[in-house]
Each structure stands twice: as C-alpha cells, then as structure tokens.
Symmetry: C2
Subunit: 186 residues, 2 copies
C-alpha cells in the first residue's frame, strides 16, 4: 500500500537521500552530480513548487517494555512508514506559459519496479487537474530511460520533441532526449 502526501520539513532527510542516490547514478536526470543537500532541497521546496512523498508501511511489531507487577501487554503493532519516492509539481513556465504543469519523479533504488512511480504519476496528474493546469510537460526524458518512457506513454503522454544528443549518459555517451506532453482538458 502506497500513501502519497504533501512533503513536510521532517521529510527532508529522506528526500535528500533519494535525490542524492538518483544524482549519483546520473543516468536519468540532468542534475549536477555535485549538487549539495542544501541546493537540492532548495530546488525541491522552491517557490511555486509543490513537493510530495510516497510512503509504504513497513509494519513492525514492537515489544513494549514490561514492568514488574503489570499484566503482560499484547504486542503493539506500530505503523512505521518509510519514504520510498518523492515528486514535485509546478508550472513549467511563468506568465503566458503557467497553465502547463511540469513534474519530476524520483524513486529510491530499493523500491524501483514496485509501482511507486506509477502511483506518484497518477497522484500528480490528479493534483495538476485539481490545481487547474491544462496540460503537463516533461522537458527532459532521457531516451535510454525505458521504464519511464513506457510509464509516460501508458499514462497518455506523447513525444512531442526530440533533442538530438542532449544528454551525456555515463555509459552510453550522447543520447537523445524527449520532450513529452499530455493535455489535461477533455
């Protein structure tokens, strides 16, 4: 079960861990791999940017302390939510371009291929509609990031632009990048 909610100040460590891990891999986003925690969080929590986290329940059975003379209590089931993904939603441009949303998604490596990305993307599309955005645009989908490409296509995004050699992949060298777009109005 994935719960997606607005990010708070107390989520900053978990978010930075995911951003840091994603940037270190350097094969999906055009972020500076030396971006500091401070810079990354200033970006993620920037003005006009809505940040969210995805949590899963890692249920743990806690053994409460026993005190002499008390009855043995039953084990307490504690909710122990773990943040496994984060995304941001914001206008892609200002002024005359502010009706088009932009979003960026990151999933912790240990939670890849478990539906977290899809869950966040569906949540994000609903949030964008709720806020009145008329479309959503991804400016920089690296063509070698096949899982992301498939997910966006399944969710109704189309490739509307191809940027030749616009990403330098750590293993594959210069690869194409796609601009993807989908309308949010009927």
């Amino acid at each position: 079960m994935i719960e997606i909610r607005t990010a708070t100040e107390t989520d900053r460590d978990a978010i930075w861990n995911i951003i840091h891990e994603t940037n270190a891999a350097g094969d999906t986003y055009a972020f500076d791999p030396k971006m500091s925690r401070e810079e990354a969080l200033a970006y993620w929590f920037g003005p006009g940017t809505h940040a969210y986290v995805a949590e899963v329940d890692a249920e743990s059975v806690g053994e409460p302390d026993s005190f002499p003379g008390t009855a043995t209590p039953s084990p307490i089931v504690e909710r122990n939510p773990v943040i496994v993904g984060t995304y941001i939603l914001r206008p892609n441009q200002s002024g005359g371009g502010s009706h088009v949303a932009n979003a960026a998604f990151m999933v912790a490596s240990h939670a890849q291929r478990s539906g977290v990305g899809r869950g966040m993307a569906e949540h994000c599309l609903a949030e964008a509609r709720r806020m009145g955005f008329r479309a959503m645009q991804f400016n920089f989908v690296v063509s070698t990031n096949v899982p992301a490409l498939h997910l966006w296509e399944q969710l109704g995004f189309k490739i509307v632009g191809t940027l030749p050699g616009a990403f330098h992949h750590p293993e594959k060298g210069y690869v194409d990048v796609y601009v993807m777009y989908r309308s949010l109005v009927p």
Copy 2:
C-alpha cells in the same frame, strides 16, 4: 554600428527597462508580467548565466562651455552609446545536459527590425562555441513570434518539438510553442 559586450553592473537600469517593456507586452516570453526589477535582474545575472548588451552609437555633438579669453574651441564629438538590446547565455541543463546552451534575447521596441537581434544571435553562437557548448536549444519560441522564428531558421535552428497550446497569447489565446535546436559541432 552595433557593439556587443559583456553586461556590467552599470547596465542594470538599461537592461531592466528592456525586460520590463518586453514583459509588459507579454506576447513573446513566458515571464510573469508582474516580475519585479529585483527578480528580473537576479534572473538575468543569475549564477552560471552570461549576460550581454548591444549598444549603438547615438553620436551627439557637444557644445563645450566657452570661457572668456579662450579661443573658441571646435565642437567635441562625444560617443554616447545607447543600450538597445540584451541577451543571456547559459547551460540549458546541469550535469549530463550541460553541453547544450540556452539563450534568451530582448530588443528595445524602438530598435526592433534594425539588425540588433541578428547581431546578438550571431555573437551568442560565437560565444557558445568559444565556451565549448555542443548545441544550442530554445525551449520556448512562441509560434506567433514570426520575426524570431525566421531569424532562428536563417541561423540554422530547426523546430524539433511542438508544444500544443503551451502559450496564452494576450490577443490570440492559446497558441503553439516550438522547441528549436541547432548543433554547434561540425
């Protein structure tokens, strides 16, 4: 004669006048029309951004003060440069996308159609090559901005993407936006 040079602190008033005028028109750039002087200049002189100005010589003939007992001096021709345009050059993305340049150009309304835009664009392409960029990308060329479109096509840019209805034009409503791209390597 147009001279193009790196912008300095003393150019800030002239640059703001051009940005303010361009934003007020609101038909070419997706900037917030209420963007303040401070915000605009922070953007134009942002980290990693190279800002330039284009000057023309508005020659003026100065009449120096005459002092009794001195010979009548000949009129002094003063150079009186006027800033008529400004542009910025920067990486379009960080990290794996930092080899692609991005640029934005603004020309004062009274100097439109006088070659200032073309002069700045050619200067910009040369600067981008000098800095080692491998390509240049414009993320947001409004399809109704025909003079700009023609200029970019003449300078070797191609439309590599079309964003449907991505700009709300103050008179024409929702219009398409182009992503334009050109290589800078042979």
